[in-house]
Structure formats: C-alpha cells, structure tokens
Symmetry: C2
Subunit: 200 residues, 2 copies
Amino acid sequence: MVGKRQAVREDLTERLLDAARTRIRDNGLTGLRTRDITNDAGCGLGTIYKCFSDLDDLILRVNSQTLCALTQKIERAIQSLDDPHHQLQAMAAAYLNFAMKNGKLWAALFDHRMSAGEALPDWHLAEHQTLLDFIASPLSQLQPSLDDDALQLRTRSVFAAVHGLIATGLEGRFISVSKKALRAELTAFVDVIVAGLEQA
Amino acid sequence: MVGKRQAVREDLTERLLDAARTRIRDNGLTGLRTRDITNDAGCGLGTIYKCFSDLDDLILRVNSQTLCALTQKIERAIQSLDDPHHQLQAMAAAYLNFAMKNGKLWAALFDHRMSAGEALPDWHLAEHQTLLDFIASPLSQLQPSLDDDALQLRTRSVFAAVHGLIATGLEGRFISVSKKALRAELTAFVDVIVAGLEQA
DNA sequence: TGTACATCAGTGAACGCGCGTTCACTGATGTAC
DNA sequence: TGTACATCAGTGAACGCGCGTTCACTGATGTAC
C-alpha cells in the first residue's frame, strides 16, 4: 500500500483538528493545552509537531474551518434574495445565529493573537476577504456611487458595527439581554443602518 | 507624625499604579509582569500584594483610570453642543481621538479578562454605565418614543457599532487604513446611523 | 523627653504550577535485490 | 515471494522558561509609661 503513511498522517491531522475544535468549543482558547489535545486525539504529545508547525498553526486551522463554515452560512442566507436590504438583514440574522450556536469557536476567531506578534498568514486573511465580499455586494447596490476603496471601507464598517453589536450582546457587557431582545434589536439596528445608507 | 504609615502606603500605591499604567501603555497587557511593575515602582515584589489584592485588581484600577479619563473627554466634547446629531459626532470623534492617543491602555479596557472567570466588580460596571449615560442622552432626543429599556439597548448598539468600527480600524483587521481615512469613514458612518435613527 | 516594647509595613527568596517544545529512541513501513 | 536494510513516523520524558503568589524575616514606626 503506497499511500499508507500519508493516509495515517492525514487521519492523525484530522483527529488533532477534531480534538482541538472540541476543546475550543467547550472551553474556549483559555486553557487550551497541547497535552489535552493529543490525549483526546489518542496520540503522543510530540505528534502535534509532526502535523502542525506549532500550537498557533493548529488554532489557525480550527479558526479557518470556523470561518469557512460561517461564510457558507452567510452565502446560503442570501442566495435566494435579490433586495439588498433583505440580504443585509438575512446576513445579520445568519451571523447572530452562527455566533449563538458556535459561541466559543466564534469568539476564538477574534480572541486569538499570534504569539511573538507575528502577523496572520495570507491564506487566512484571504478567507476573511471572502466573507467581506459577500457583504460588499448588497452595499454596492445601496450605494452605487462609492468607489472601490470606499466600498471596502464601508463594508468593514457595516461588518464591524454588526459584529460589535452581537459580540457586546453575547458577552453580556454593560447590560445583559435576552436572546430574543438581542435578535429584535439587531433587526431594528440593521434597519437603521440601511435607512441611513439609502438616504446618503 | 500620625498618618506617616498611611501616607507611605498611598505613595506606594500611586507608584505601583503609575508603573503598571506605563507598562500597559507601552507594551499592552501581554507580558505585563509583577516583577517589572515593582522594579519600576522601586519597591519589593511582595509589596504589590500589600496595596492590591492581586494583579487583576491592579489592572482593574488602571482600567478604571483609563475609563474615567475617556468619560471626561466624552463629557467635555459635548458640553457646549445642543444638537443631538452634533453631539453624537463629537462623541465619536472624541472616542476615536482617545483610542488613537491611548492605544494600548484603551485596548486593555476590552482585552482584560478576569482570571478564574470571575465577574467584573460592581464599582467598575458602574463606571461603564456612566459613560453609556452620556451617549443615551442625545439618542433619547433622536428617538423620544423609545422606552427606557429600549433606549439602553439602543445606546449599547450605537456604542458597539462605533467601537467596533474604531477597534477594527486601529487593529488593522481585514484591511489597513490611514488615520485620516478612518476619521472620515467614522464621520460618514455616524451620519448614516443618525440619518437612520431620525427616520425611524 | 527618654526608654522599652509592640506592631506591622516592606522584602525577596522560594514555592508551585503550568505548559509549549524538543529530541533521542523504537518499531513499523517502504525499498532493493 | 523472501530477506536484509534504510527510512522515518510516532513517542513521551525531559527541558526550559515564565511568572503569580506566599511567608518568615527585618527594621522602621507607633505606643505606653
């Protein structure tokens, strides 16, 4: 069997990813330890460094999976809608949904900091951009006069606003709020933004 | 001299606070170490536990100072303005200004997590509320129909949106942007929000 | 004011724990003939 | 197919470092008389 070694390696990588994802899902990034991950995956401690360059790399792969899953949800939420207002509402709702269902995995996307102040790798930044592109599309319909740079900036602003609202809500910062109230407030606030955008 | 001991203690506390604030300002929360703080303050390692219950407590005091300074800036920014639209713009601009000038101290307000999952103490939460109250005031003028709960929620949404936009911009997430472009985008986006609020 | 004693603030060596990463080793897999 | 050898994946004990917190001690300050 020629590809035996490779298959074993891929299986190991998969198990490590699964174990790390489960750990992060249940406990968040805080207290994520290599020993727990390798124990859960049923392999030796050193194995993690055969499959990944270091723990940061492994976390980045988990984050990548989370981000891609999120992007898929966003994509599906809007694929049958034409109106940009409806699209933005559907994306915001899908985002809130995803954040609620994947609490700590979602938080890890934003909490993770590379050690030694290294920058995020390009392949991961590209995944961010893919998500943003979905948001840019309805915005460009609402504000066709924006040039490309301004559209990018506006896209980020809208994302940051929606993200901030959801993150603050789910963390319970400042005031705690029920899921239902948060959902209603998000819808109302996206309406506010869209109304403002349409008027500009 | 009766109050000698107390005076020495207060001086020590002050020096420790100063040292911690300087460290956070220059290097952020990451890599903040008790040994560095006490060295900078010119006292022994154990002293920190005479003046504060633990490192979390010390960080919280620094954050409290930062938050109060921020609240003051916000308060001053609006005190000569009547129009709620202008007030919101002035607050957003003051917030951006503060965040740019106090980069890592400001970031510490949001990055700090209590150890052992303890909640923030009430006195610090009250300081948050003081800041939010300044934002609530112009919002209640723009949307007088909101009841108190809805106003609180809306206030948090507006704050979260503005904060998200600034944080994302200053962190350089997704795309990097010049300070000037960020300032312009913030102004434009607050206009969008206000226009949307006025229409609702 | 002076003296003897009690208190307690400040100290820093040592504790204790955590934890990412390495590397010499073992044995399974792949290869050559 | 069988045999001998080479390679290299997986292992986990050990390394190395970091770092918050404690506590027995010292000497300055406060107190009683």
